[in-house]
Symmetry: C2
Subunit: 204 residues, 2 copies
């Protein structure tokens, strides 16, 4: 599927957005619906998204994102969170897979037991899992946006604690990145050069 | 682009692989080339991939992946690593973007300075960045595989320290996940149900 290869290669981290063109709430919802098709360990789906799209909310976000103009120029800036303690929600999260007959009762119970034993005492694994799940969802979101004719930018340059406080995140919500999405303005960077594959890939 | 939405929706975490059909080294290289088009903070590209595809290497990986048969049945299992201390490599990693005129000299120097001050004393941020970059590359890899008619599965169930030792990873390489890639055998799960978008998305 050449089209998809081109989509991957043409995605750039865009700094400049058309500040006039907005996205309808329906389109924002569609993008997140696609993002949540990303995989996650045990199908935890341990992610949350805040779509910052009103002028008032953007103004609150701007200083917490070190006044980077793309936060207000983009149609929407998503606060992409991963959530800690994913094992606690697993019985409910996995129930639809059991009910649909995709996994059987022993698998359902086995996964819950395994997740409890792996995660409940392991803060590092909980944080890794929050970052891992949120990053996979964010990547899917950015490619989905690209396929909708939009541009995006992942951002780690923001005040995590300030964003958490200002937008009422729970103590278990880790704001893993901001992702701006909108229509491109002029003069965006091209995609930056990548290392040669041989530098990062080995065979065994 | 409806095709891409269908690609996202049709990707599943596949357990069952055709153990006969292999992937050529060229095709493995192409998949990783696409994966490395993922974004990363400061364009760190702080990832590494080991393509475990020989019978001998699969046999070494199997017990470290808790004897999950997909590790040997899949054409290839990638050890997807994120790397710590990304700021140390940044002058070299970013040089091609400077040389290509994509960023100017003050930006080049500014980013290196900012990365040094953010990362050098912050082990948590280094680990977050390793997981974040590797997860975005892994997600791109899985979608690229899907677009090539292949199936995949991300796996966190493996002995990280054992894999690092057995496959000669550096102390700064964090094995963030395994990703099996190959041709599907029968009886794979469908994609598991996702939460309603309203459960995970709020507007501000």
């Amino acid at each position: 599927m050449t089209v998809f290869s081109e989509l991957i290669k043409s995605r750039t981290s865009a700094n400049n957005y058309d500040s006039v063109r907005k996205l309808a709430s329906d389109e924002i919802t569609q993008l997140i619906a696609l993002a949540t098709h990303a995989p996650s360990a045990f199908n935890f789906q341990n992610w949350k998204f805040v779509a910052v799209h009103s002028d008032a909310a953007k103004a609150r976000l701007l200083p917490l994102a070190f006044n980077q103009p793309k936060v207000t120029d983009a149609a929407v800036t998503f606060i992409v969170c991963g959530t800690l303690e994913p094992h606690l929600a697993l019985p409910a999260t996995l129930k639809p897979s059991l009910d649909a007959g995709i996994i059987d009762e022993p698998t359902y119970k086995g996964w819950i037991g395994a997740a409890n034993s792996m995660y409940q005492e392991n803060a590092t694994l909980q944080r890794d899992e929050a970052v891992r799940s949120a990053a996979m969802a964010a990547m899917t979101l950015m490619l989905a946006a690209q396929s909708h004719g939009l541009v995006s930018c992942p951002m780690i340059g923001f005040d995590q604690a300030g964003v958490a406080a200002e937008f009422g995140l729970h103590a278990t919500d880790v704001p893993v990145m901001l992702v701006t999405v909108g229509y491109a303005a002029k003069a965006n960077w091209p995609q930056k050069p990548r290392k040669a594959v041989a530098e990062v890939l080995s065979f065994a």
